[in-house]
């Protein structure tokens, strides 16, 4: 019996290091924070986190990272100010424990550049409106709608997202409408989210099949296009109405088939002497 317990203990220990090896600050930062934040490389969807550990109280940071929404709802003025400043985009709650959060903060502190020595990735490196061509937009549209496949077989954006642009098929309504994503999130923000999704549903979809650089550029070009063209003329919902009419028609057809079959169905349970 004792021997068995020892063996089980050894086997479980063998699995433990794997499990905990992931919780180093850097890994968590790139998994969870990098999509919206940089350390010293400028603002994305969220603030640049360089030297954040010296600017803010540690407990406040931990609380904010755990659930910024609860902090805002509790009326914390600092949290509300941050929320207001960054376009009222709520930071998703992060399912990491206190120790992991401390690891991330340690990583940020260690990697924060001295003020005055910031190396920034210029927005032009991510996206430049001047260089966008119609071909880029078309490729982006095809990828978005799923007419062209992503190289790593990720799901097309239209599965969950809608854009209100004439000529684009109605998109899904599970996630945010992306018509004006470009202005809402900035090119760097969209790039960050697509490159390193912070949202669980997107993580599930793209963890094992990320987009390549060219595909991200094409998607950015398409979203740039929708941002400029979208909602100019309110997208008509005639497509939706057509689907509704077809649905009602289909239901009637199905019942018609049942009605035709009704003729050869036994009408009475047992021999009826009426």
């Amino acid at each position: 019996m004792k021997k068995k317990i020892i063996i089980i203990a050894i086997v479980s220990l063998m699995y433990l290091p794997n499990h905990y090896a992931q919780s180093s600050g850097e890994k968590i930062f790139y998994d969870k924070c990098f999509a919206c934040h940089t350390v010293g490389e400028g603002q994305r969807v969220g603030p640049d986190l360089a030297n954040i550990t010296t600017k803010r109280d540690e407990d406040w940071l931990i609380e904010f990272i755990r659930s910024s929404q609860s902090l805002i709802n509790s009326g914390d003025s600092l949290a509300i100010a941050v929320y207001e400043q960054y376009n009222k985009i709520l930071m998703p709650d992060q399912p990491i424990n206190r120790n992991e959060t401390l690891e991330v903060l340690k990583y940020i502190a260690a990697n924060s550049p001295d003020p005055g020595d910031t190396i920034r990735r210029t927005p032009a490196q991510i996206f430049s409106a001047a260089s966008v061509t119609d071909a880029d937009i078309q490729r982006g549209k095809d990828l978005f709608e799923g007419r062209a496949k992503f190289q790593n077989r990720g799901a097309p954006c239209i599965v969950c997202h809608n854009v209100q642009v004439p000529g684009v098929f109605n998109g899904g309504l599970l996630a945010k409408d992306l018509t004006t994503a470009f202005t809402r999130l900035s090119p760097a923000g969209v790039d960050g989210i697509v490159r390193n999704p912070p949202f669980p549903a997107m993580i599930t979809s793209y963890r094992d099949n990320p987009l390549n650089d060219q595909e991200i550029k094409d998607i950015l070009a398409f979203l740039y296009y929708t941002d400029n063209k979208g909602i100019v003329q309110s997208a008509s919902n005639s497509g939706e109405i057509n689907l509704l009419i077809i649905t009602i028609f289909g239901i009637n057809i199905v019942f018609l088939i049942f009605l035709l079959n009704w003729r050869r169905v036994k009408k009475y349970s047992v021999n009826s002497f009426r």
Partner: protein, 242 residues
Amino acid sequence: MNAFNNIFFIALPYAALLMFLVGTIYRYKATKFKFSTLSSQFLETKKLYWGSVPFHWGILFVFFGHLIAFLFPSYILLWNQVPVRLAILEVSAFIGGVVALIGLAGLFYRRITNDRLRKVTNYMDLILEVLLLVQIFLGLWVAYGFRWGSSWFATVLSPYLTSIFTFNPQIDAVAMLPFVIQLHIILAFVIFMIIPFTRLVHVLVFPLSYLWRPYQKVIWYWDRKKVRNPNTSWDIHRPRNN
């Protein structure tokens, strides 16, 4: 919120699976002859046809749609690649759902209004029918309100269900879904859980073997020619069930 997610998306599925397995075996061993749909066709036939037939065609179509999306998510995405095909799939699934809802509503009405049926109705029948009604309604709501469910099922829910069946539950994505979808998922597990204790057990004993069993020859004991002789008038009551 964490407790909510853990209870309903990790504990509940496993409780449902366990209860389904143990309950089914127990019921089959304990009350073998009640392990059926307990048909009420003898008691009432007409309304049964207009309830049961639409319900079963609709629910089977929708159920196998869910099953295929769960088992072959990549093929669903491949199919949905062309917008027209996506629309065809979504519309036919929606039609299936509506037909099932109409059928089930009819069956529910029939069960609570017919005196003969009330005699053979137990609480579990009513609970099950109400649960199914709510479940189908929620499904239609999800399909309409959060459209292209066939696609995002494949990318969001298939991985979750797979993670449940591989004993490595990943609930991050499910935890972030809108509440209506969560409720649809939770209710699915609840219905799955109570299968052994309801008429739903009939899905487990569907007589598939009828498809390949040998023909049965029916031999009448009485002289059929005598009865069917058109030259003589009927001296017994004429069967009226056809």
